[in-house]
Amino acid sequence: MCGIAGIARPDPGVVALEPLGRMAAAIRHRGPDGYGFYAGSHVGFAHTRLSIVDVAGGAQPLTNEDGQIVITFNGEVYNHPELRRELEARGHQFRTRSDTEVLVHGYEEWGAQMLQRLNGQFAFAIHDARNRTVFLARDRFGVRPLFYAQIDRNLYFASEVKALFASSEVPASVDPAALDEVFTFWAARPPRTGFAGIRCLEPGTYGIWQDGALRLHRYYQLNYPETPLESKDAVEQLDDLMRTGVGLRMRADVPVGAYLSGGLDSSITSSLAAAVTPHQLRTFSITFSDPRFDESEFQLAMAGEIGSVHAIASIGQNAIADSFRDIVWHAETPLLRTAPAPMFHLAKLTKASGIKVVLTGEGADELFLGYDLFKEVSVRRFCLRRPESALRQRLFDRLYPYLFDQGRGGEFWRRFFLDAGPLSDPLFSHLPRILLTSRIKDFYSPEFAAAVANNDPLGALRAELPEQFFGWSPLNQAAYLEMTLLLSPYLLSSQGDRMAMAHGVEGRFPFLDHRLFEYAAALPTGSRLRGLKEKEILRRWARRILPSRISGRGKQPYRAPDAPSFFAPNAPAYIADMLSSDAIQRVGIWSARAVAGLVRRCRSGQAISFRENQALLGVLSTQLWHHQFIQSAPSAQTLDLSAADMVIQEGVPAAV
């Protein structure tokens, strides 16, 4: 896992090392083990390295034999030994053991068609000097990030947006419509980012830049060819996919650890990892010192069961507030939840324990319909078929028992779900969440509200749904929306890649093996969500490898302390600064009057509602985001070029 960056210019002239050095410095946290540069005619690349595969020989950027093809690569190609054998049989000669070199030769052999053969998580750029192109590609589900900007026909790309700004050639400004999407969906919808003119390469796509123009293509489309009946060997297939999926992700030249939350998904990945690792498995979890959110009992039970050496980071109330500024710096977007904070601290613990690669259970809820949202869709559909039935509506109370004691939400609570939108709306599944999230827009300043008045994020999304979407079952439509709206742009980013890479830790996701996705997407939905029992087939299979108290355990809602942590007596001073009326007015996105009311209620301990918690996080993170990226000049810090592992310059022999 690493950081990548680069510049491509249509006009002749060697790309200078200076901007590349600054770009690399901005993402040094992603690759603390080394760095390197390529400065060629038209194109320059930077690379910061976290060495995992071929620790000795894997420095980047890397070229082919004649130097015509250069790559800068972030990620892993798990099936690289198999691809290498195939390429060697076709006459390709390898100089290193790295998966990076497999991409170079794979590109020579297959061009863009290579992407279909990769099993992995990746974002990379390949410069082909023969036709002066830059080939950018990103993995199927968007595990690894890749951002770009095009200015005056020049192309700038990087693993994180801050590296684009560090080039000093890409300006930072707000895209109001994208922020409006953040406050609708929790994240801007790819390819948008909160920054005007800066896009992300969408998951499952690649781009070819030539002569100043970037052309984008999709190589992978999510599909749900649901079958009516579960095949007789469905559980055996799942067994094979889970074991090989984990086995592939244990490939590394350094020990691979695992996150272990005590829930089903990470217990599965940890248990399978423990069975195949040549090392004693190290597992890690986070818990809160507040006993209401403490999960350590289950975490330790599972660690004992699989025999891992387990470490727990117990974080107190102040940890969230103390680290929130750094979290926004790494996430590069406003946030509506504090959930990235525990992931940030978990990665910190992992790194401090000497582990830089971990398996995690992310993706299982999307593939096997684990989230409450999927049950909610079923219940809402069920109720709307007979809206007059009060009995049917009581099901909502069963869905969220932790929110209300025995039906205290009453008619209003049920009506919230039932009135969220009609069955005929393609976004039906997500409308309650979208409505709840959008309540933060009440806090917009009049000026910002006017700037986004004509923005219609739901209309735009409806218009861009793929044609196949309308042929899928309602639960698969919901699963698709969850994968595209939340998994890649929020979970894998703000809670995943960014929090782990803040500490130079690489997450690996066995549930996001595309073979497993394709298997799950073809199952009858009843095999995944049976009645109100989520992840049914996964539980059925997991009984083979896990004790029943884990495999049968219902999903625990993830909860963390929110607003109160920012107003504790010893809360850091930046919070008051960011929320002051002056600061709010300077940024101009939020209403100073409404925020003053919110702060008053938070200080007095009254702001305990979901809506206010969300508003506080949205306002504070937007202020921090604006302060750190829009108002502040980008860092001029650079890396010492003489200490680079690798500098390849046009016309100059490679210095290693």
Partner: protein
């Protein structure tokens, strides 16, 4: 029109709504017959918070089937509901 007693209830509930919900909507003026949920003044979770306030403040208890639009949907409905509950003297 409200009775004197109802007016006192109204002032307290109105104050509660201002303090807890309407501060988020600086440009909105609430009418007594505005539907709270529909106008976005409170959401369904807010209803539960409001109910807790009403029960604590006025010493009344709402049964599950009384948590309805008819009883809690507008400021006027809430005032009537609280007043009627208070008029029932427990046996």
């Amino acid at each position: 029109m409200y009775t004197k007693h109802e007016s006192l209830i109204r002032e307290k509930i109105r104050g509660y709504l201002d303090e807890n919900f309407l501060y988020m909507m600086p440009n909105f003026v609430l009418d007594d017959d505005d539907r709270l949920l529909e106008r976005g003044v409170v959401d369904s979770m807010g209803i539960v918070e409001m109910l807790t306030f009403i029960e604590d403040e006025f010493g009344v208890k709402a049964a599950d089937d009384e948590i309805s639009e008819a009883n809690l949907g507008t400021l006027r409905a809430i005032v009537r509901f609280v007043a009627s509950k208070q008029s029932i003297v427990p046996a």
